[in-house]
Structure formats: C-alpha cells, structure tokens
Symmetry: C2
Subunit: 412 residues, 2 copies
C-alpha cells in the first residue's frame, strides 16, 4: 500500500470524496464553532458548577441496581416507558378541559431535542418541501430541515415572537402558489436567539392559523424549565389538545447537555411514524433510566429551583451591566427565561464588526446575521448569559462596551 | 378544544398525517420486531448475565470524578478525543507497512454503529444513488440507505461472504449504465445474517475492485471482538491503508448494546464531512468517558476474553444441537465469530413456514427472506445463539427440530 502522505499516489483523494458527497452537504452552512476566548458569551451552554454530578452518579447506581440487564441492553426505538410516562404527566399539566390525556404512547425519546428535530425532518420533509420558520430562528433547525431537502420560508418575529397576522399571510401565499408549507417551526418560550416568549393570544392564534392551513407545528421548547418570570404559559401542544403539534423537549438545560436525552410529544399516529423513522436502534436505556431516577428523586425539584435562581441572577446582572456599559449603543428586552440577550444595535453599528471588535477585547458574542435563513439581522448580536458567573459577565460586558465604542468611533 | 376521542371533530386526523409523510416513509419496510416467545433465537442481542454492570458503574464514577463538568456538557459532534485515540490504536493494529498512522482525527464517535450507517447515508446518499450490498445482508442497512433515497443493488454472497468476481461484474454493469455505485456496503467479519467471514484474498480483491471503480466501502464490523476462532483478519480499512473505506465499529457487543457508543474510522477528509452532517449536537460525552474508563481499565480484556468463552460455548452447544435435532432438514457452516447460525433448509422447506411452525413450539427464529433487498432467501433461517445459555439453546433447537418435522410432514 502506498503511504497516505504521498498525495500523488493517494488512491482516494480529497477531490474524489468531494465528488461523491450527497447534494445536501453542499446546501448547508457550517455550524457555529466555539470560541476559545477568555469570555465566552457565544456558546448557549448551562452553568458548569450547578451540574448535579453526585445526584446523577447516585441515579446511575440506582438504575443499574434496579435492572442492570435492561439498562444495558437495547431499549427499543421509542425509549424507556416510565420516563415517557413521567414526561406525559408534565405535558398534561396545562391540558384543556375535555382534552384526551397525554400518555406514554404520546412520547418518544430522542438524543436531545436537536436529534428530535432530525427525527421529525426524516419523517416529514422530502426534497423541495416548504418549512416555515421565524425570522430570526435557531440555525440548527434550519440546517436540519435543509439537510432533508427543505426550502426554508421565513415568517417575521417581533419582541413577542412569531407575528400571527404575518404568519397567516405567509401561509396564504404558500397556499396560493400551490406549494403549501409542510411544517411550521416555532419556539414558544425564550426563543433562541431572541429570548422572545409568545403571549397566550398569539399561541391560540398560531394554533388556529396552522390548523386552518393543515400545517403541523414543530414546537421547540428546549429552554422551558429555565423559567425566570414564573411558570410558562400553556404550550401550543396543550392548546391544540395534542393534535397537529410535535412538542420537542429536553433535559439538556434542566439536567445536563452531556446526557443527550430529549423527547417529542405528539399524537400517537405521529409518534408511531417518528419511531419508524429511527435508524439508530434507539437511544441509551441506561441514560433514560438514569434520568428517570433523577427526575423522580427528591433532588430534582430543588435542583431546578436552584438553576432558576442562578440564571435569574445572571440574567439580571448581565442586564444591569448592559445598561451600565452598553446602553448608548444597544437596546434589548429582558427575557422571561432561557439563556439569551438579543441586542438591537443602534443605527450604523454592524453585528459582525461588533463581534470582531469584542473578540479583540477577549469576548465572544454571536453576530445576529446567522439567525436568519434569507439575510438580515446585521443590526443584532446574541449574548449568552447562562455560562458565566455574574462577576465574569460584568467584566465581559464592560469589555463589550469598549468594543462597541471602538466600532462606533470607526464609523463616525 | 374538542376531545381527541371524538374522531369526527379531530382537527388533525390520521389521514392528514399520512398525507404529509416524507416519501421515504413509504419506501421502507418495518424493522423486525422482537418476539415474546419462551425461546427467542430472533433478537441478535448479547448475553445479559455477562454485562459488566459493576465495572461500568465504577467507570461512571471515575469519569465523573475526573471531570464532571466535561462529562455532563456538550462534547462536540466528533466525540471524546481520548476514546477516539484509543480506537485509533486498535484500528492501527493491522496497519500495512508504510501506511500513515491512524489517529484520533480518523475517528468519529456515533450512537452505535447503526447510527454510524445513518451518518454515512446522510453524507453520501442522495435520491436515486446506487448502494451495493451483499445478498443476503443486514436489513437495518437496507432501511437506512433507502431512507436517504438509495436504490439498493445486490451482489451475491457465498459461504465466504461477498464474491469478488461477481462484485466486479455488478460494478462493471453499473458503470456501463452510466450510474456508478455510490457506496459498497460490506460486513467483513461474522456477517449478519450469514455468519460469513471474508478470507484475506477476498478482502484484498474487494478493496482493489472498489478502488478501480472509485466506490468507497462501508465496512460494517459490529461483531468484531466476538472472535471465536482466533484474532480477526486485517480489516478492509487496514488493507486499503485507511483510504476509501469507512470502518464502522461499536462497543455494543463487547461492552453493552444499551450504551449506544460506536464509531466510524475513515480518512480525515471523510471524517470531517461525517461530523458536518450530524444534527444531534453530538453523542453523550458522559458515555464516551465511561466507555473510555472501562476499556482502559484492567477489567476490559478479561471481560472480552470471558465473552468469547461464553459465546464459543453457546455456538458449539447450538451447533451440536442442530446436528442432533435438525440435521435431516438443515445444513449450516459453523461461524468463526458473532452471534448467528445461518441455516440452509433442505429442498422444499420454506423459511417462513419453519419460523411459523417454530413459533407454535415457543421458539422465535427469523426467516431468511428479510435479508435480501430484492427477493430470495426462502430456503434460509437465521438463528441467534448469543442470548440464551447452552441448556436453553438445546431445548429451543430440540423444539425447532420438531417444527422442521411438522413442516416436512405437511409438504410430503
């Protein structure tokens, strides 16, 4: 065999790999990479100090003591039934009068909610299908739907999230062109990146509009649990009586991102198809049982209450620092939960220039343009407040203020 | 909201779900389901008693003690570097003279090797692309490639696996039609379902033929480690000097199916694209670190040696029972590893009829027809010897012998 470091002899050169790739590969943008800077306000990750390591080890011990063989053997594509039943109980909390109860049959477990979106895309999206998303929205969702051939159509958001009247127009237009949307992707709580939360009336309007158009809703609820202004409003899934909505949740933010345990709640006819379109022999039953042990233990509720305290303190400290150090250059609305501030830059300031200047001060923030499927967002920057303690946030935002000054000076 | 149990009012009825499904859903057969029968020789699962539960709990403890925050936070799409480096060491064992060393950059971690196949399909398979597979082959691979739009083309296998001369003809024919194959899927060791192992000369011929046609090889090696007749031969990946082969491995059979930790080893240009086509925010770094702790502990090698003993005993006990109870009706070749006997039924016996009759005797076996993409295999039955202890295998095979008698009597 010729050694691979003699490129001229390479039996399988780079160009050949490139020529063989699926068309989808060429359609996709690279995902945002992490920033090795002293102050990272870029990665939307939980606080590391509040990770419940001891409680999770104890949960692992109990899961293995209870039934090691079941925990360590294939657990089926739909996942561990008691955890699905526990999730169903949570999903039932805001059930409307007369709605059928949510049961374990309404839930399928996924490797985080990101994988849930991929499972939904595999089940519903074919080449050329239209998926409607907010503008802005989560870029991971855009990539996931595009990978399956979707054409992304945007519907505008304001400070309260997706605007129902605009959504109705977008869906009407789609209907008139004869290519109705296949899915509507919505983040109802603490939107990534905008932090917006849909008010109740909008939720009801969105469910009604989607239903009138026969479009199923993908409700991505990755940040629920990190509720910093009281309990969340009823989900679109609850408002719809569980019909025509796929509700994606995760334990990433309330337990740990490193476990990769999430779920989709939907009507059983849909769950059956989602399970059918799994090709990974299911997620880890060991992790399902570990999470189930933890969430049914006495440690869970105090843990989540503690998380809310930690993140509320960080949200408030960062908001205060933004007002103190950045106010001449940015406006923002304090989010009711989640991990993000979505800064509106004052006229003339560009998000990429601000992110570049911030990097020079050792601070990573994310330019807004990456959150729009078809352009826009140049006057926006996303800032993560979840990952750093208040004093580091304050210092990072002080530096961000300097970066804003630098950029403002350049354009004067 | 109308209650969902009044179907006439259902705002999102079954028919609407059906109408919205991606075309791929309609292309796929249902996966084989597990059989709730007293003797299950259907599910290709490891022995439950040999699962190293205590050692894995200890590995979890060490993984969390070492770096709880890293174990419980997103670990990146490619996965935990020290585990990738350990796998690279294994992949290097049979490296040919002059081949570039296999490093952590050549490895990406997946949620089991099944998920590895899905990752490969996402990266290389577009609508209408040709994927060549053995006849018979693993139905999960057929489903996974078809879900991405692949057209499956079969290449015949005999008792030694894929036949090189026939493969060359299949690829030549593809080339002449102007639609060259995109991927060649091969199981080199202890093929599921046939148990076949490719001899060294065939391996070299297959690498050469695939290379001549510019077709990358997907080498599925899920059963390596369960080596019941000495160490395995060099992989296609090693023989190819790491170029043009994606080598899929897993800890499912040597550690536990319930952990869902597998990998793909390939040239770095390919690994980069595989990582790019992940949409699940990576697999669990907690499980990666747990597996790394276990495989680098003193417990690992004795554990795998013990597994080989257990499975060798089961293979031999089941082979003996087959000769004693089923010989008038079946022939088979004892496999060099893995979990399966692949029975050739004597003239006139039909695999589905035999499986049906066996079920009436309380024994689940799998008819061969499901392992062929385009028909055939009616004279075959697959039998799993891994999951039951020798005495249960003997009883199950005694009953299978009775079922064979029943079927033979009916066709006389």
């Amino acid at each position: 065999m010729p050694p691979a470091d003699r490129p001229s002899d390479d039996p399988f050169p780079e160009a050949q790999v490139e020529a063989l790739l699926a068309p989808a590969v060429h359609r996709l943008a690279a995902p945002t990479s992490l920033s090795p800077l002293p102050y990272d306000l870029n990665a939307g990750v939980p606080d590391r100090a509040t990770l419940p390591a001891d409680a999770l080890l104890e949960a692992a011990r109990r899961a293995l003591a209870e039934d090691a063989a079941a925990a360590l053997t294939y657990g089926g594509q739909q996942g561990y039934e008691p955890l699905r039943a526990w999730i169903a109980g949570r999903e039932s909390r805001d059930a409307r009068d007369g709605a059928a109860p949510v049961t374990a049959a309404h839930v399928t477990l996924t490797s985080g909610s990101a994988h849930g979106l991929d499972n939904i895309a595999a089940t519903f999206v074919g080449e050329g299908d239209i998926v409607v998303v907010g503008a802005p929205t989560y870029p991971g969702a855009i990539r996931t739907f595009r990978a399956r051939g979707a054409t992304i159509v945007e519907s505008p958001q304001d400070d309260d999230g997706l605007v129902p009247s605009a959504l109705a127009r977008v869906l009407d237009t789609r209907r008139m062109t004869g290519r109705q949307a296949k899915l509507l992707y919505v983040q109802s709580n603490y939107d990534n990146p905008s932090g917006a939360t849909l008010p109740l009336q909008r939720r009801e309007a969105i469910v009604r509009i989607a239903r009138e158009h026969g479009v199923p809703i993908v409700e991505d609820d990755a940040y629920t649990g990190i509720d910093l202004a009281g309990p969340p409003l009823p989900s679109l899934f609850s408002i719809a009586g569980g019909r025509g909505v796929m509700h994606c949740g995760t334990f990433s933010k309330t337990v740990a991102t490193g476990l990769r345990v999430g779920w989709i709640a939907a009507q059983p006819e849909i769950v059956r198809r989602l399970v059918f379109m799994r090709f990974d022999n299911g997620s880890s039953p060991f992790l399902h049982r570990l999470v189930h042990q933890f969430v049914t233990s006495k440690a869970y509720e105090p843990h989540v209450a503690r998380l809310r305290e930690v993140y509320r303190e960080r949200r408030d400290a960062s908001a205060e620092a933004l007002r103190e150090f950045c106010e001449p250059y940015v406006t923002f609305r304090t989010p009711a939960g989640g991990f993000f501030h979505w800064l509106h830059l004052h006229v003339g300031l560009d998000g990429r220039a601000v992110a570049q200047a911030a990097a020079e001060h050792g601070v990573a923030v994310t330019p807004g343009a990456g959150y729009y499927a078809s352009g826009g967002g140049e006057d926006r920057v996303r800032l993560v407040f979840s990952a750093l303690p208040p004093e580091d946030l304050r210092e990072a935002i002080r530096r961000l203020g300097q970066a804003l000054e630098d950029v403002a000076r350049q354009i004067e």
